[in-house]
């Protein structure tokens, strides 16, 4: 891996600058065409049926945006008699009709104090009017009908347009660099200390004749961190097979056990030592966070492993594991994207992969140019975020110092 920087390299970034520029203008769209409330124009004046309690006012209706349809939200302002007194409102009844002035039917009621109701039985593309009736022991009062509204199915969630564009831009950037990396050699990737140490840590286990224990976190396969950890296990297992070190993988989820077995088996096969693999290297303990920690603590003390890997999604047990492994003199290489647990790994372990480094680990260890290319794609993502931050901050600062009226980029998201 060596650094290459020339003017050609810089020119290749041009498409991205263009994309970024486009990206700055598109996101304004959703705020321009956002769903608007339909308010009854003459809602201020209200018709009173029974004089006793004050009626609810300002009945507004709105299709629930960005859903698959079939529902309408009705909101109103409470009767001024809601909350106490002789005319205290006991509940509100909600009426619906397809005509403004007739045919109202009760579709539900709410307790006193409520100011909104969702009509879940609205048919798509049918216009409805709504009325609210306040009910008190002294009598009832009815609001004016609302404006008409119809529920509709949305085919694209406009409030997520920015996210959509950003997904495309970053996704494309990563894809682009993966493709480019296929034809390009010598992509520079900076050193990551925790991953440089993996070779030594595995070798140490061979020298000492003790085990390597690999802990893939406590979450199931529905976490990207577990998936990242399992791919790292693949690289570690291959090294272990080459160095003829003993590897043990106790896990706390059945699906993770199955996956880890596939991965370790394949790694031993690729290293040319399929005979050295057996299923007992990967075993299940319990689904429980602290019982798992208790069992691992016992394992550490009894086996005295040379190396312990703690990679994946961890919670409170992180420090229990790290401190116990430390007390038996094991080298510990940890990695997690859990911001709450990073401090403990940093304090107690020899090496820690911080957040994003965990996801970069498998690419880094594999040295596969395609995977390394994706890391460069990530950097483009960071670059876009940095650019947005700088421009956004400069705009707002200029606004506050010089009284300009530049757009607030934060609003676009």
């Amino acid at each position: 891996m060596k650094s290459r920087s020339n003017s050609k390299e810089k020119l290749k970034f041009l498409p991205f600058f263009l994309l970024v520029t486009v990206f700055f203008f598109l996101p304004g769209i959703p705020s321009m065409i956002g769903a608007e409330d339909i308010t009854n124009p003459d809602a201020e004046s209200t018709k009173v049926i029974q004089t006793t309690p004050a009626p609810p006012i300002n009945v507004t209706v709105k299709d629930i945006p960005n859903d698959k349809g079939g529902a309408v939200t009705i909101s109103w302002e409470k009767s001024t008699d809601d909350g106490g007194g002789a005319k205290n409102v006991a509940k509100y009844e909600i009426f619906r009709s397809t005509q403004r002035d007739a045919g109202y039917e009760v579709i539900g009621n709410t307790v006193a104090g409520a100011t909104s109701f969702s009509d879940n039985a609205a048919k798509n593309k049918v216009s409805y009017f709504y009325k609210i009736r306040a009910i008190s022991p002294a009598g009832v009062a009815e609001s004016l009908p609302s404006a008409s509204v119809f529920a509709k199915r949305q085919w694209f969630n406009l409030s997520r347009l920015t996210l959509f564009i950003l997904s495309l831009v970053i996704g494309f950037a990563i894809f682009y660099f993966i493709e480019r990396a296929k034809s390009e050699k010598g992509l520079f990737i900076r050193k990551i200390a925790g991953l440089e140490a993996v070779d030594d840590a595995v070798g140490r286990a061979t020298e000492m004749g003790r085990k390597i224990i690999y802990i893939p976190g406590i979450m199931d396969m529905d976490s990207m961190q577990t998936i990242a950890s399992v791919t790292i296990l693949g690289r570690v297992a291959k090294l272990a097979a080459q160095y003829e070190a003993k590897l043990e993988v106790p896990v706390c989820r059945s699906l993770v056990m199955v996956t880890c077995r596939e991965v370790v088996k394949e790694a031993y096969l690729n290293a040319g030592r399929p005979d050295a693999y057996n299923d007992n290297m990967v075993y299940y303990l319990t689904d429980d966070q602290f019982a798992y920690a208790a069992a691992l603590d016992g394992l550490f003390l009894r086996e005295r492993p040379a190396t312990v890997f703690l990679m994946g999604q961890f919670y409170a047990e992180s420090l229990i594991l790290a401190e116990t492994a430390n007390s038996v003199g094991a080298i510990q290489i940890a990695g997690t994207a859990m911001p709450t647990q990073l401090p403990f790994f940093v304090a107690a372990c020899d090496y820690t992969l911080i957040g994003e480094e965990l996801f970069a680990a498998s690419a880094y260890l594999s040295k596969d140019p395609k995977l390394l290319g994706s890391l460069k794609g990530q950097d483009v993502g960071k670059f876009i975020f940095l650019l947005v931050i700088i421009i956004g901050v400069v705009f707002l600062t200029l606004n506050s110092v010089l009284g300009l009226n530049l757009p607030n980029l934060g609003r676009w998201f």
Binding site: M224, V230, Y284, F290, P339, A347, A348, F359, A360
Partner: protein, 213 residues
């Protein structure tokens, strides 16, 4: 079949889930896939349990070192499983008053809470070892931790109001600004890491889990 089907399946499912985030009618598929996940996990737990019992039964059978504890594992498992499945009122097995609840409160809970409480000791030993002013980075770590530890409990009040208040204020300030800044950088980095890993998985570049390099 062995290699291609998993790759295609991952790609299709992954892309569907991304699309569902933007196209509301796809939500139905999203919900369905998520339910299937729980069903698969519920089936898979049998594999784990079988493995656990086999390992411990092996210990017992071969009279390995510490074999009596293998027996304890198996008996503990059978006790709570049989009671939970058959003798605790079915679905309401966790209601106060059931035998399952009793085992939970007096066996599971004390063990779990105590294991958790061990952290109080490990936090002390780890901070004693790690918080030394070896270099600039370590000093930053030490200072931030120290101010937070003192500032977040009213130790200061034993000395004087002024000191306690100053410490509390600086603890709050550290949490609000430099801490938040560091945290944010980590979080944004993680977002890109997840996006990139997810993409590599969907594109089939990382497929060790299906037995491919």
């Amino acid at each position: 079949m062995r290699r291609e089907v998993p790759l295609i399946l991952t790609a299709i499912v992954g892309i569907t889930m991304i699309i569902a985030h933007f196209i509301p009618p796809f939500n139905i598929l999203k919900n369905l896939f998520e339910d299937w996940f729980f069903i698969i996990a519920a089936f898979a737990i049998y594999l784990g349990i079988l493995n656990l019992i086999r390992v411990n039964a092996d210990k017992l059978y071969k009279k390995q070192h510490d074999w009596p504890f293998g027996l304890v594992v198996i008996l503990g498992f059978l006790l709570i499983t049989i009671i939970g499945l058959f003798f605790s009122g079915g679905r309401s097995f966790q209601d106060p008053g059931t035998p399952f609840y009793y085992l939970y409160m007096h066996l599971y809970y004390p063990l779990s809470a105590t294991m958790f409480a061990l952290l109080a000791f490990f936090v002390a030993s780890a901070s004693y070892r790690a918080f030394r002013a070896r270099n600039i980075e370590a000093t930053m770590l030490l200072l931030a931790a120290f101010i937070l530890m003192v500032g977040r409990v009213p130790i200061g009040y034993w000395f004087s109001d002024w000191l306690g208040d100053a410490l509390g204020k600086s603890a709050d300030w550290i949490m609000d600004f430099p801490q938040t800044a560091g945290q944010r950088a980590i979080m944004i980095g993680i977002a890109l890491g997840v996006v990139s890993s997810a993409l590599r998985v969907i594109l089939g570049l990382e497929r060790t889990y299906t037995g491919g390099e």
